[in-house]
């Protein structure tokens, strides 16, 4: 993996991940994905049969990747080590910050992709559907998820939104 | 309006030359068509680029006369794209010629010819029975369908056309028109624009080849037009076209022995040879160029399907 200048956000998440080993992070991710599934059912309509697909969200500047299975009956979001990636239909690779912005501010995915900030491989239709599905959500998915965790959630969200990045 | 007695044998037609052939090449070509082929209807005219039109206008009357003397029906085809003052004038004038039959390729021509008998070319986007009905009601008595229309849709069009007393023509040979533009891609390839093109398209009488960056032949550039690399070829499908009542089989002029191509399709339409013999002869004539029939089968146009069951129900 290439050496990456980590943003403050990525370093923050990495430190959190060090404190919360993957088995303990998992219930948190479960709550997040179930909350998103419950409050934004229209996402699944737009995914169509791709709700049964597996997406790898490769946050390249974090020590783990995320695996998403958006099945409305059993939505799953797991953090896995890169050596343990399961078979998957599509992979979206990008820095944590660019991926976070996608689901927080609805930052233009096209602009991110065209500047090769995001890289897509595998089933392109799966990715296009996911992108269109996420775009049909009012407000911020990230804020929604953070809302589950009260004060802690708001703290994490504001750390992640903190946009100035001091040079390393 | 003409009555719809379907002829026992579909007409064999020759579409308008898409390319910019030299005057000599063109004259020789049409002389052969007149004297050596059983082609029934010949479409004449510059359809792609208005800049080329004056060259053709010179010998057009002589060529038309030669073909008519040989017993061919001559139809004049109009421009597919009409935008400039000149193109608008050429088109309107062609619609008001009066005597000769005209094939309209742009809705600009429809205004002038509205209510009088005329033909519609493949650029008029007649895709369905409703559109056909509207235009037939305004004077269209013969329609050449878009090359991308799949077989089952062609059958439905033929059925609707028969009820309206309208002829249906389908392209059965030659490069498929895939796109048109206002920008000239021939000129662009040579670092020029349409205005100062110096007619560089004349260098490519069968279209300028475009390959992918892997070196795979993909498309052909013909001035403002983009065409398929492959020659569309409906061979096994001819029997089916006859069955469903298609009244015209269009051959597009390519840089191959078109007299022999016409002979193959003549034999096919008369049921005098089987598909495999036609296939052999055509492959020989077109050596070096792949054949395709994907559009007709609802698949990617570049693909070739053979031994398909002739059942589209």
């Amino acid at each position: 993996m290439p050496q990456l200048d980590r943003t403050p956000q990525a370093r923050f998440i990495t430190r959190l991940a060090a404190v919360l080993p993957l088995p303990i992070m998992q219930p948190v991710l479960d709550r997040i994905v179930r909350r998103i599934a419950a409050s934004h059912s229209e996402i699944f309509d737009r995914l169509g049969s791709y709700r049964y697909s597996t997406y790898v969200i490769d946050t390249e500047d974090l020590p783990f990747a995320l695996v998403l299975s958006p099945d409305p009956d059993q939505p799953k979001l797991r953090a896995v080590k890169r050596k343990d990636l399961p078979p998957h239909d599509a992979r979206i690779t990008g820095t944590f910050l660019s991926l976070f912005k996608l689901i927080d501010t609805g930052e233009d995915g096209d602009a991110l992709f065209f500047s090769r900030t995001l890289l897509i491989s595998g089933d392109t239709e799966a990715v296009v559907r996911l992108r269109n599905a996420l775009d049909d959500v009012d407000g911020s998915i990230a804020a929604d998820a953070a809302g589950l965790f009260g004060l802690t959630g708001r703290f994490v969200l504001s750390r992640l939104r903190h946009s100035t990045a001091p040079s390393l | 309006m003409m009555t719809s007695n379907l002829p026992a044998v579909a007409a064999l037609t020759l579409g308008p030359i898409a390319y910019h052939w030299s005057a000599e090449t063109r004259r020789d070509f049409y002389a052969k068509i007149a004297d050596e082929t059983p082609i029934d209807t010949v479409y004449l005219g510059e359809v792609i680029c208005s800049k080329r039109a004056p060259f053709f206008a010179n010998d057009l009357p002589e060529i038309a006369e030669r073909l008519i003397k040989a017993g061919k029906t001559v139809v004049f085809s109009s421009l597919a794209e009409v935008m400039t003052v000149r193109e608008r004038r050429i088109t309107t004038e062609m619609m008001t010629l009066g005597e000769a039959e005209v094939e309209v390729n742009n809705s600009a021509g429809l205004l002038a010819i509205d209510g009088r008998p005329h033909r519609l070319g493949p650029f008029m986007n007649v895709y369905n029975e409703e559109t056909l009905s509207v235009l037939a009601g305004r004077g269209a008595h013969h329609v050449c369908l878009p090359a991308e229309l799949p077989g089952p849709a062609v059958a439905l069009m033929a059925e609707a056309a028969a009820a309206l007393g309208v002829g249906i023509e389908v392209q059965v040979f030659g490069r498929a028109p895939l796109a048109t533009s206002a920008r000239c891609y021939h000129a662009r390839a040579h670092g020029r624009t349409k205005d100062n093109c110096r007619f560089v398209c004349e260098e490519d009488p069968d279209g300028m080849p475009l390959s992918t960056r892997d070196g795979v032949p993909f498309l052909r550039v013909n001035g403002v037009q983009t065409q398929s690399e492959t020659y569309l070829a409906l061979i096994e499908e001819i029997a089916y076209l006859k069955e469903i009542g298609v009244s015209g089989l269009r051959l597009m002029p390519q840089q191959v022995d078109m007299v022999s191509v016409a002979a193959v399709f003549d034999d096919l339409r008369r049921g005098m040879i089987e598909s495999n013999e036609a296939e052999e002869r055509l492959s020989e004539i077109c050596i070096g160029t792949r054949l395709s029939n994907g559009f007709f089968h609802g698949l990617a146009g570049y693909r070739r399907i053979t031994k398909a069951a002739a059942s589209f129900s």
Binding site: G48, T124 | F123, M208, L210, T212
Partner: protein, 336 residues
């Protein structure tokens, strides 16, 4: 409600209900959208509106004084006309403010069954001359024509003098130089048709292939559309935006066009002067944030121009697809 040339209607794209609300809130006068099927020319996977979503969107737009235009701008192949008929019936029932059509049969159906509804002629009908436009106005009662992006301002002015209907022109977004509604490149390559299925270079046939040397090749079906070095900005493999090899161009070149985006913000007053009634922003497949940014910027720009002020359009550059901007054909014919 009749529109006059003083209106300068801002017509904005919406691929989802969220995008439509975003556009309305950002100041759009009209929003155009389509159903989740091949009746419109942006039939992308996971995009567009269900009937219920359209109903809700029309209510939202109307309550805020905005209009909804339903795109039915593809060509039904024989045997499938019922789908377009149903879409038209549904649109009429839901009180959309206009239908954007290309196929003559579809236009005739709406004219016959809903004679009081507005018909707008899509750019997919490729009506680029006064004669063509007049034909549609006289035979199908079309009230507005969306002009192809290839016309210059003097040409637009001339057209306006000779036609009885309103004019809508594109001012921002994806720039196509192929004649719309006449392209079978996608069907040739994939078996799905732009005209009949409303798709262009469909995602299902797209592959991004990273190569060992760090380059990225983009493919559509069996064909490589382009290749990008590590420092190059990649693009979606739209066929007419790819790079190819020709005799005399062995290095691979943009045979058809370079990926640029249209931005006519500086020509707004000229366009109004030429008689343009409505400005169209392209991008139903773009995100909410694109819609928000572009619509707000043009809302301000149009309002500025109409009040006699200089519009500020600096922020719009970042949104263009390939990072290159053009004013396209509108200023000069020299590019042809």
């Amino acid at each position: 409600m009749p529109l006059d040339s003083a209106t300068s209607e801002l017509v904005c794209p919406a691929g989802t209900p969220a995008a439509l609300r975003t556009a309305v809130d950002a100041g759009a006068d009209s929003i155009y959208c389509g159903f989740q099927n091949e009746t419109n020319a942006r039939n992308f996977p996971g995009l567009n509106f269900t009937p219920d979503q359209l109903a809700g969107s029309v209510a939202y737009a109307h309550s805020r004084g905005a209009k909804v235009l339903l795109a039915l701008n593809t060509y039904p192949p024989a045997g499938k006309f019922a789908l377009w008929r149903e879409a038209a019936d549904l649109g009429a029932k839901l009180n959309v403010d206009a239908f954007i059509v290309a196929d003559i049969g579809v236009a005739a159906y709406i004219k016959k069954n809903y004679p009081d509804r507005r018909l707008h002629l899509s750019v997919q009908a490729a009506a680029a001359s006064p004669e063509a436009i007049r034909y549609y106005c006289e035979t199908l009662a079309v009230k507005r024509v969306v002009l192809p992006r290839i016309l210059t301002i003097p040409e637009i002015r001339q057209i306006k003098r000779e036609i009885p209907c309103e004019i809508e022109t594109f001012i921002f977004g994806n720039h196509g130089l192929m004649v719309e509604g006449r392209c079978s490149l996608t069907n040739y390559t994939t078996g799905l048709s732009t005209n009949m299925d409303g798709v262009c270079s469909p995602a299902a046939d797209v592959e991004y292939r990273p190569e060992a040397d760090g380059t990225l090749s983009t493919r559509l079906g069996a064909f490589t559309i382009d290749r990008f070095g590590p420092d190059e900005t990649a693009g979606y493999p739209t066929i007419c935006k790819g790079r190819y090899i020709a005799p005399g161009r062995p290095e691979g070149y943009y045979a058809f066009e370079e990926p640029v985006s249209l931005n006519l913000a500086r020509l707004l007053s000229d366009l109004i002067g030429a008689g343009v009634n409505a400005f169209k922003i392209e991008g139903r497949q773009r995100s909410r944030s694109y819609v928000r940014s572009v619509v707000s910027a043009f809302r301000t720009a149009v309002d500025d121009v109409r009040a006699g002020r200089e519009p500020d359009i600096a922020d719009l550059l970042a949104l263009t697809e390939g990072r290159k901007e053009t004013q396209g054909a509108f200023e000069t014919k020299k590019w042809r």
